[in-house]
């Protein structure tokens, strides 16, 4: 061996050793890194250093998009260069196993490709291309420029390129498998999440949640599961027969105009059918979306509302169509959610009812306290009185106030029933007690009470009222009747007269004048004050107790004590009414002059 031959052999040996070391490093890099992007950059640098080139690119074929894109490059300015690769062109690349010059592609289809993309190939500074192939097909390519300082590619360089291409191909394929595995795992987890959320909704059915909070939670889950960019949940307002927004994502919750303007949405409440649109004219659609999916929230006792989703997202940013699968999922969701919302509504209603009942109990207790603690014991007189409200609180009232040896006796019946009537009773009670402190004559006093009631009540509210001033010593009384049913004065002999003098009911007009009458009492006389709840008590056949029956009953019992007369009336009403509910407040006062 000559000295020159020996030197050449030593250089070749060192070059081969360097190449083997490079291949080892490339292998290590490809197997160690978790991200293909970073490892492909490292591999590119090793490749360029080993073969001594200044410009190169590794390109990866995206099968889904049919595009060949740069994954890593060096010395190339335009990173966005992309080649569209048809299935046939991919097959043409797959048939090539060796590096080839871009000026001499090995088959006709590739020649056409390189001719067509001449400008981009120049931007890549391509001299050679090496297809990256695996058994399943073409997966990418390496582009390398001319060698540094115009050196020629030797056989060993081409062999090295082929080996690196093989390693890279295996690595890309492995990364793809891992990526697909991750995607499959992601989808599996997503299905699991769907089941978990449906399960959670099932639990929510038995859990007592606030309707607004539950609606928001349902919408969050539905939007998240379907990848919708926007969502709304509207509940049916049974009283007003309209939809009310309960929750919105990327949508204003207080804007009802969009819902109210679309009859289709209200139609869904009738049909219970889902509504899926993927190519609608946005101008005609609720909220201006072209892709939307709306399903009813089906409860056990009817449709509770609607859940609507719009604009399904994709990772690429394009909007996807809603699928039958989305519809099935959302319908399942809607059924579960409907029952949950129904339960939440029932719960809210029962809580509200309980609260109202508690408040009514307090109001009833307050109203009971407005009545006299006990009846006054007046020498020479017997007394019995009660008021029985038809509801927890009522509009009937009676009162006794002692004033300078005399007694003010009042009975009142507020128009209407329940809380509004009870509030007016409170006003009457306060005014009456305030005025009782003064030295007013009865007509003046009633007039002042009327003005006060007029000022503090609605126009359709009034009070029928009788005020009596009883002088026990003189056995006389004065009476003013403000529109009340006439109190009865029954003599020992059975003559009935009525106390009718007075004026209009309290609160009807701002200024009313009243007149009074004065009556002397005799032993055995009976005064009966009552509200229409007595004479207008009804039995199950809706027969009225009647004024006549009441008067006859009083006459029959007029020789008995006040308490016995009182008891007889109440007992007779009870027997007459039977199982029928009390429909009006009832108040009765019986006063008898001792014989």
């Amino acid at each position: 061996m000559s000295k020159d031959d020996y030197s050449a052999a030593v250089i070749l040996k060192e070059k081969l050793l360097y190449s083997i070391r490079s291949l080892t490093e490339i292998g290590e890099e490809l197997s160690a890194a978790e991200q293909f992007e970073s490892s492909s950059r490292a591999v590119l640098h090793l490749l360029m250093g080993t073969i001594v080139i200044s410009k190169a690119a590794i390109m990866v074929f995206d099968e889904d998009a049919n595009k060949l894109r740069i994954s890593a490059s060096r010395g190339i300015e335009d990173q966005e260069i992309t080649f569209r690769i048809s299935r046939k062109l991919a097959a043409a690349f797959h048939s090539v196993k060796e590096p080839f010059p871009v000026t001499e592609p090995p088959n006709g289809r590739l020649r056409e490709f390189f001719e067509e993309h001449k400008q981009d190939i120049e931007k890549l500074h391509s001299h050679l291309w090496v297809p990256l192939n695996v058994k399943g097909g073409f997966i990418g390519a390496i582009s390398v420029s001319k060698k540094f300082m115009g050196g020629e590619y030797e056989e060993v360089d081409l062999e090295l390129l082929s080996i690196i291409a093989q390693q890279l191909s295996i690595a890309i394929n492995t990364y793809r498998l891992i990526r697909n595995l991750k995607a499959a795992n992601f989808q599996l987890n997503r299905k699991l999440l769907e089941l978990e959320i449906l399960y959670d909704l099932g639990i929510a059915i038995g859990t007592l949640m606030e309707v607004g909070e539950l609606s928001e939670q349902i919408l969050i889950n539905a939007v998240g599961l379907t990848d919708a960019s926007t969502g709304m949940l509207a509940l049916k307002d049974e009283k007003e027969n309209r939809l009310v927004m309960a929750a919105g994502i990327n949508m204003p919750v207080d804007d009802l105009s969009e819902i109210e303007g679309h009859e289709e949405l209200h139609g869904l409440l009738e049909t219970g059918e889902p509504w899926l649109e993927n190519n609608a004219d946005p101008g005609t659609m609720p909220f201006g979306f072209s892709k939307l999916l709306i399903v009813p929230l089906q409860g056990q006792h009817g449709i509770q509302g609607l859940i609507g989703l719009a604009d399904k997202e994709s990772r690429s940013g394009e909007l996807l169509d809603f699928t039958e699968e989305d519809q099935r999922l959302l319908s399942n969701f809607g059924s579960q959610a409907g029952v949950s919302i129904e339960n939440a509504k029932f719960y809210a209603e029962s809580v509200e009812k309980e609260r109202l009942e508690r408040e009514l109990q307090v109001a009833a207790s307050i109203q009971r306290n407005l009545l006299p603690d006990s009846l006054p014991e007046i020498s020479g007189f017997q007394m019995a009185a009660t008021t029985l409200p038809s509801r927890a609180v009522g509009g009937d009232h009676y009162d006794f106030i002692r004033r300078d040896g005399e007694y003010l006796i009042a009975i009142a019946d507020v128009s209407g029933k329940g809380i509004p009537a009870a509030l007016l009773v409170s006003t009457l009670h306060a005014t009456f007690h305030a005025l009782a402190e003064g030295e007013w004559q009865l007509p003046e006093m009633v007039s002042k009470i009327s003005r006060s009631i007029y000022a503090s009540s609605l126009s359709n509210k009034f009070i029928t009222f009788v005020l009596v001033r009883l002088n026990p010593e003189q056995k006389t009384f004065h009476s003013v009747n403000a529109g009340h049913n006439y109190p009865l004065l029954i003599s020992k002999e059975g003559e009935i007269s009525t106390l009718c003098k007075g004026g209009m009911a309290l609160g009807l007009l701002p200024g009313c004048e009243y007149q009074e009458e004065e009556i002397s009492l005799s032993p055995g006389d009976i005064l009966v004050f009552y509200t229409d709840g007595v004479t207008e008590s009804f039995d199950l056949e809706e027969e009225e107790f009647s004024e006549e029956r009441f008067r006859n009953l009083l006459l029959e019992n007029r020789h008995r004590s006040a308490q016995e007369i009182f008891d007889a009336v109440l007992e007779d009403i009870k027997v007459f009414v039977g199982e029928a509910p009390q429909h009006d407040d009832l108040t009765l006062i019986v006063i008898k002059v001792a014989e």
Binding site: K182, N189, R190, G224, I249, E313, R315
Partner: protein, 119 residues
Amino acid sequence: MTQELKVAVKKEPNYAVLRTDGYINNPGGEKVARECYKLMEDGYKHFVLDFSKSKVINSIGISILIEIIEKVLEIDGSLNFTGLTSTIAKTFKIMGLTQYANVYDSLSDAATAIDSRVE
């Protein structure tokens, strides 16, 4: 009509906090990713994502978070979550994010854990 996610960044010596406000979907997730990658270029390796004001996430938002986790792990960093609603916490657990990222009850818990790892 859709409201854009807001991201507020606070840089601390050992980590950066990203407070989100809104829906973590495709555009929202991309915004979080862009902020994280910008911070990575500035040398940050540890990130706390405070989702107190984000109640909704979809599968695309999750896939973007997975991408961020992969990039952070590549530089030996960490992704840490705080302020998760129970729904998002459950979603992260089922989707496997909690195997590679940490979840803390509060920002101070996350800060303490990161500081002890770094120092």
